[in-house]
């Protein structure tokens, strides 16, 4: 990694942080950089102190780091809170607008408001001035930024576009003329421009669902899951999807169960609080053996908790939610690519095993923007595992929805298909689906359902090993921690340590054999989780008999950075 530059934009909600940040991120990607961008925001629509942070590099990055090179401060708070993060960097601020208490040599005043008014006749162009200034400080060409803005304002017409471009130039020129450090922050854009995507975890998950042929999505809005619903809704017409906003989460899951029962590939999106309301229907999905995909995007609890922050605090909840014992599946992506492919895989597992399947993400992964190689849609297959009309017509016996089979999977027909009747019941039932309360039947049906879990377990792939398989220290993580952990492995190995990462995406049913094979080799294991109790490490213990040596836990609502993890490893004297 030759280039590693961190830009932070700080300001209040409503000040256009997201627009500015997105435009810059896209510009950097166009320049050929690898980009990682992450947002920190409060649970409000206007005001408060938010940030949009963009990291650029010439090699692939999947995490934020903590030291800031360039701080674009849209309010005083930004300087107050982030000055200490500044690592020989610069603070760009319009001192005409913002009163700054701190005295710092790093402050570089740009009269953005004045420039905007002078050049474009309206202060709303200040943001574009600031973008130009940033490009100037990095000594990049203006052209990519200009084409990004052209695309962004296409609908607004030529005049607006021109004014934005003028603003960009003015900001750029102001820097060239006035910044004393010259090209101190120059970053040379990579020669080889890869064909990369710039995509958020939520967008990638939405894309995955569309690629999997989702037909019905019912959900109730809840941060940070709403992005997926929005994304699918925005493309619903093209893809023949029906998106329905349910009156509550209870309705959402029950609705998709009805739709799935009747044959539509169906999913819901929610976060922990909404999932709480879905637990009863989770059991319904399982006892009626109705496929369902639940996109569960975590945020810190309990209850409302920290609605816009991040945490991996709902794993045990998802594992054990709802009364009784029944099969379910949990997948947890760590990158946008994994969001895309696992989302598609979730639908196939749901259809094959006729169980509820979770895709567990979190606010960090959901809202962060990553550059990554183009998703390969041709790798996604759609496997419905439904009986064909001819199979049904050929059969001589009356259709048994819950036929007992060696692997527990009963061939599935749809209501009315080829004249058969399909019966689903939340009570314990016989092979047809009718209520049956006898002990013998109960055991058969329970065993049938649980059998599917064991068959599925065999199919679950091994965790990914990043780095030398025989390293002397193994970091263990699941889901969204992949990025920072992989970077930690690189950093430490570069420093001569011997560290690898075992990254789990297939959480439940845990592929126990694979897991034991890989983890029993490790002399020292550190499980790194974004929660306070080490939920995944508990799962490893109880399901796979793996005793983790040490834990690094973070539960202040923020995601991991490589620095945080390395500091914790040092503190615990494992490195």
């Amino acid at each position: 990694m030759n280039i590693d530059l961190n830009l932070k934009i700080g300001g209040a909600a409503g000040q256009g942080l997201q627009t500015t940040g997105m435009a810059l991120a896209k510009t950097f990607k166009k320049n050929g950089f690898h980009v990682f961008a992450t947002q920190y925001y409060l649970s409000r629509v206007r005001g408060g102190h938010n940030t949009f942070q963009i990291r650029i590099s010439d090699s692939s990055i999947f995490a934020m780091t903590e030291s800031v090179d360039l701080l674009l401060a849209l309010d005083g708070e930004s300087i107050e809170q982030h000055l200490s993060e500044l690592n020989d960097g610069v603070i760009v601020v319009d001192l005409d607008v913002i009163e700054v208490k701190e005295n710092s040599d790093s402050i570089f005043h740009i009269p953005m408001l004045k420039i905007a008014k002078d050049v474009c006749g309206d202060k709303i162009y200040s943001n574009s001035v600031s973008m130009g200034a940033v490009i100037g400080l990095l000594c990049l060409e203006r052209s990519d930024l200009e084409s990004v803005l052209k695309a962004a304002f296409k609908k607004k017409g030529e005049e607006i576009i021109q004014k934005n471009i003028d603003a960009v130039r003015a900001g750029y020129n102001y820097v060239k003329d006035n910044y004393p450090g010259g090209c101190k922050f120059a970053v040379k854009d990579p020669d080889k421009k890869e064909n990369m995507m710039l995509v958020s975890g939520n967008e990638a998950a939405g894309l995955g669902a569309l690629a999997a042929g989702v037909q019905f999505l019912a959900a109730y809005p809840m941060t940070p899951s709403t992005g997926v619903m929005n994304y699918v809704a925005a493309n619903a017409d093209t893809f023949n999807v029906v998106v329905e906003q349910a009156e509550d989460e209870i309705a959402a899951l029950n609705m998709i169960l009805g739709a799935s029962f009747a044959g539509a590939r169906s999913m819901t999106t929610t976060s922990g609080g909404g999932f709480s309301l879905m637990t009863e229907a989770l059991g319904l999905a399982s006892i009626t053996e109705t496929p369902a995909v639940i996109f569960l995007c975590q945020r810190p609890g309990p209850a409302t908790g920290l609605p816009t922050m991040t945490e991996q605090g709902d794993l045990q909840f998802a594992l054990y939610a709802a009364q009784g014992e029944f099969p379910r599946c949990i997948l947890a992506p760590g990158t946008p690519e994994e969001c895309f492919y696992l989302m598609a895989e979730a639908f196939n597992i749901a259809d094959k095993y006729q169980i509820p399947v979770f895709v567990m993400s979190d606010q960090y992964l959901a809202d962060s923007l990553f550059t990554c190689p183009r998703f390969d849609a041709s790798k996604v297959t759609i496997e419905r595992h439904l009986l064909s009309n001819s199979q049904l017509s050929a059969s001589k016996e009356e259709y048994k929805r819950y036929k007992l089979t060696p692997n527990g999977i009963s061939p599935r027909a749809l209501p009315g298909q080829a004249g058969v009747l399909v019966i689903a019941d939340s009570d314990e039932h016989d092979e047809f689906g009718h209520i049956n309360e006898t002990p013998d039947n109960r055991i058969k049906m329970n065993d049938k359902r649980m059998k599917k879990l064991e068959v599925l377990r065999e199919e679950m792939p091994a965790p990914k090993v990043y780095g030398n398989p025989d390293a002397s220290l193994t970091l263990v993580g699941w889901g969204s921690t992949y990025g920072p952990l992989a970077e930690v492995v690189d950093i430490l190995n570069d420093k001569g340590k011997s560290v690898n990462l075992v990254h789990f995406t297939h959480i439940h049913p845990l592929p126990v054999e694979h897991t034991r094979k890989i983890l029993t080799k490790s002399k020292k294991t550190v499980c790194v989780e974004n929660n306070s109790s080490g939920q995944f490490s508990r799962l490893l213990k109880v399901d796979a008999d793996i005793q983790i040596t040490e834990h690094v836990l973070r539960y202040d609502g923020k995601p991991f950075s490589p620095e945080f993890i390395i500091a914790a490893l040092k503190e615990k004297e494992v490195i």
Binding site: Q215, D237, G258
Partner: protein, 284 residues
């Protein structure tokens, strides 16, 4: 042609003499009269004595959770709008535990026929007050008698501009059959609230009690689409209890609003996965 035998005969878990038998009979008869074959019909239900009904006739069945008959019915209708979808539920199931779905399903107006076995009591759990229980009814929980204002399902539905609002009586099977037929034929959400004596737990609202009070609403000049009048009529409850259709507002159903469904049932669509690449291009 569909005949009664197509719908089969089953042993039930109901008490002898229960009003549920009349409702079952009326539903079967209505489906036969409308020539719907069992495989075209889906009955969704919740949990309660009433909600066991779909097990007692041959048809597709989604016997879900207590209070949750409507959401799966809606989902199934969206997935395959060629199905005739009925939601069979109880007063506790639909107006108690499932009250929120009632509100919003009426607003959505999917083409579903809702049949509420309104026995003014929780039958299956052995006799607690339901939202429609009469003031003064004593139970093991309501030891001083009910004092909460009973919920009037018809007034409530009319206030939500439900597109078909009606009341039947389990003691008048021919009338109920006709009502259910009309409800099924109506495009949109149709409510059939059925007065249903529970011989085991409701000692107040018996066959005798209802029979002495019910009368047919059909009177000259009663206009089906006058919402205020219908509301006024729906308030009548006491010595005289009107039966029949109270209110009809023909309007597009939920499915009719959804353009995607115009080309045929949702579940039959072939996924347009080739378009995913175009979307991916947008991220490059």
């Amino acid at each position: 042609m569909v005949i009664m035998d197509d719908y089969g005969k089953f042993e039930t878990a109901w008490c002898p003499g229960c009003g549920n038998f009349g409702i079952l009979k009326a539903i079967k008869q209505a489906l036969v009269d409308l020539d719907r074959s069992p495989d075209e019909v889906l009955i969704a239900s919740g949990i309660g004595q009433s909600s066991k009904l779909p097990h007692y006739l041959r048809c597709n069945t989604f016997n879900g959770l207590h209070g949750r008959s409507l959401p799966p019915a809606t989902g199934a209708k969206v997935a395959n709008h060629e199905l005739t979808v009925l939601a069979v539920t109880g007063d506790g199931d639909c107006y108690g535990e499932g009250g929120n779905h009632f509100l919003h399903t009426v607003r959505r107006n999917p083409d579903i026929t809702m049949i509420v076995h309104d026995n003014q009591i929780y039958g299956l759990t052995k006799g607690q007050a339901s939202p429609t229980s009469e003031i003064g009814m004593k139970t093991k929980v309501q030891t001083h008698g009910v004092f909460n204002m009973p919920l009037n399902p018809l007034s409530l539905a009319i206030s939500l501009d439900c597109s078909f609002v009606s009341r039947g009586y389990a003691g008048n099977i021919p009338h109920l059959t006709k009502l259910i037929e009309k409800a099924i034929q109506h495009k949109g959400l149709s409510l059939v609230d059925v007065l249903q004596p529970c011989v085991s737990f409701n000692k107040l609202n018996t066959f005798k009690w209802y029979s002495e009070r019910v009368y047919d609403i059909e009177e000259p000049g009663y206009e089906l689409n006058d919402r205020v009048k219908a509301f006024e009529k729906s308030l009548e409850w006491g010595d005289r209890i009107p039966l029949g259709i109270f209110y009809v507002n023909e309007k597009p159903s939920f499915e009719e609003h959804i353009e995607v469904l115009e080309s045929g049932p949702l579940y039959k669509n072939i996924p347009k996965t080739e378009l995913v690449n175009k979307l991916i291009d947008g991220f490059i």
